[in-house]
């Protein structure tokens, strides 16, 4: 054990909750994570003592609130090893960060026939913003295919990247768990003269992240998947790129000056933070980052690799050919999200039966419909783990699956 599991579990009040006198088995952190007491307290405390507008008013309270908001930015920059705090832009979520990139960078740099390379394992957040540009600007999308065990098939990558303007890919698939060779992919993009964009939503919460060693140009992720509150997401980008980009949304906070017929923009990051930002959420996020740092991202990764091994061995050991778990079996190559097909049961029925035992999993297409098509399924059941899960949660999952086959007589 890399950290005190029992203590960590106690940090999350929702995990003490019982429904129908049975404990909660939360296996849906790939969707959104639970919050430690510290994050909940930081947000309450801030609202009780410090809450005020940021960047707008000159009284002391407003200054304190602005500092608290900016502490969130400092924490995020530290977590991902950003060279400069100003390179961290707050958005509503990762999806908004991806739209910001596609709209702001895309509008300035992409036109008819320009090529954007994506992979077949992307989340809709890294597909639809580009498809919108296909409709609006007639850009073209090329897709990196997958291998049979759910990794990127890079055989043809140089051809795919030839002449491309953008290579945007996930650092870790929210369906397959696959961790992609991020630094290598960024390097290949760079060699081809393409902008590299990393969807790090599933990666940052569970791993040591170093955007500098990746050599990435732009990176997007969300607070709510990393023990922080919902309502705030992050875009990190190299200053040179952010600086050259036009703004995304227009309004207050993002301007330098406005006249009756024109405006100039504030410097990065404010240029991209139009309107009143998620102030309370930034405070909660700072607390979440501090919490994760105290436990240690490397320890979290280690814990999840061990629990992933246990999960794969337990499910395959108990159900053999009756379960198909998608994605790589090697826990070095994957994170803790496990999408599977179980006997002939539909995922919706599986999750229904599991819910009776308070086992929370996601059933559906996981916002990755093109990937479902590649896998040849309509939906999967997905269990996903985090630092607060343990082997008892996985045993409860396996027992619940056993029960599902009993009910359906399969």
């Amino acid at each position: 054990m890399t950290f005190d599991q029992t203590a960590v579990r106690k940090d999350f009040p929702i995990l003490w909750r019982e429904i129908d006198d049975k404990p909660l088995v939360y296996l849906d952190s790939g969707n959104t994570s639970q919050k430690p007491q510290r994050v909940i307290d930081a947000m309450s405390h801030f609202q009780e003592h410090t809450y005020a507008p940021i960047n707008r008013s000159s009284y002391r309270l407003a200054g304190e609130a602005t500092d608290a908001y900016e502490k969130g930015r400092v924490a995020v920059a530290r977590l991902i090893n950003a060279p400069s705090v100003d390179e961290v832009v707050f958005t509503k979520n990762a999806t908004e960060a991806m739209n910001l990139i596609a709209q702001a960078w895309g509008r300035a740099n992409l036109g008819e026939g320009d090529v954007v390379v994506l992979t077949e394992m992307e989340h809709h957040a890294n597909i639809v913003p580009w498809l919108m540009l296909v409709q609006e600007r007639k850009i073209q999308i090329r897709w990196v295919p997958l291998t049979a065990d759910g990794q990127l098939d890079l055989t043809n990558l140089d051809n795919l990247l030839d002449g491309a303007k953008v290579f945007s890919f996930t650092a870790m698939s929210n369906v397959l768990g696959t961790i992609t060779p991020i630094a290598m992919l960024c390097e290949r993009a760079k060699a081809a003269g393409a902008l590299s964009i990393v969807d790090a939503c599933q990666f940052v919460p569970h791993n040591v992240t170093d955007v500098q060693s990746w050599g990435a140009d732009l990176v997007a992720f969300s607070s709510h998947k990393m023990c922080g509150p919902s309502g705030i997401g992050m875009l990190w980008g190299r200053m040179e790129i952010l600086d050259a980009m036009p703004p995304f949304l227009g309004g207050g906070n993002m301007i330098d000056t406005v006249t009756f017929d024109s405006f100039t923009t504030a410097p990065v990051p404010m240029k991209f933070e139009a309107g009143t930002p998620p102030i309370i959420e930034a405070v909660g996020l700072a607390a979440a980052v501090e919490y994760l740092e105290e436990i240690g991202m490397a320890n979290i990764r280690q814990h999840e690799m061990e629990l992933s091994r246990y999960t794969l061995d337990t499910l395959k050991g108990r159900f053999g050919d009756d379960i198909t778990i998608y994605g790589p079996d090697d826990v070095q190559l994957r994170g803790g999200v496990f999408s599977f097909a179980f006997r002939d049961l539909h995922p919706h029925d599986v999750s229904q039966v599991l819910d009776e035992r308070n086992v929370c999993v996601r059933a559906g297409h996981h916002c990755a419909k093109p990937l479902m098509k590649t896998l040849g399924v309509g939906a999967t059941t997905r269990a996903s783990i985090y630092l607060y899960n343990d082997t008892a949660d996985i045993d409860a999952l396996a027992d619940g699956l056993e029960n599902a086959s009993d009910i359906f007589g399969l």
């Binding site: 429904i19 129908d20 539909h346 995922p347 919706h348 029925d349 229904q352 039966v353 819910d355 009776e356 059933a363 559906g364 297409h365 419909k369 479902m372 309509g378 939906a379 009910i407 359906f408 007589g409």
Partner: protein
């Protein structure tokens, strides 16, 4: 939580394991598709209708696509109840079934109460599991889409 036995009654499981009227019908049969974006279920309803207007008769009905036990068994039972009836009768059946599922905004018409839902009554338990109501009504909405517009796509959202 209400017991799973309320949801997964034997008759439902029977229709799920051995769905009736599965397959396709060639044109000129009407074809409509229904999606449940929440869970990715996709259902195709094929209708072969003879005659005009409300007195037209549903000579044949087939179901394609894939979905969970609730959407599949509901579709299967629907085909059994509908085949051979007039479009007007089937619309009434759909109203009756959707009311059973607690769908709001359905205007009951004279005689609806007298309609016998037969096996479909077994789906009553779905009411206790609100997220599954969409599964149960998917095939019905797809049927209505087919008769109202002569085809196309419908969605539970």
């Amino acid at each position: 939580m209400p017991g799973l036995e309320d949801l997964y009654r034997e008759i439902i499981l029977d229709h799920y394991r051995t769905p009736r009227n599965r397959g396709e019908l060639d044109p000129p049969a009407i074809k409509a598709e229904g999606h449940n974006p929440l869970c990715g279920d996709e259902i195709t309803v094929y209708l072969s209708i003879s005659g005009e207007g409300d007195e037209a008769v549903l000579d044949d009905i087939k179901i394609g696509g894939q979905g969970c036990s609730i959407s599949q068994s509901s579709a299967s039972m629907m085909t059994q109840s509908m085949k051979g009836k007039t479009v007007a009768e089937n619309r009434a059946l759909a109203r009756r079934f959707k009311s059973l599922m607690g769908i709001e905004g359905i205007e009951p018409q004279a005689g609806d109460d007298a309609i016998d839902l037969g096996d479909l009554e077994a789906l009553e338990g779905v009411m206790k599991f609100p997220v599954r109501i969409k599964c149960a009504v998917l095939s019905w909405n797809t049927f209505l889409q087919a008769v109202d517009t002569g085809g196309g796509t419908t969605s539970t959202e």
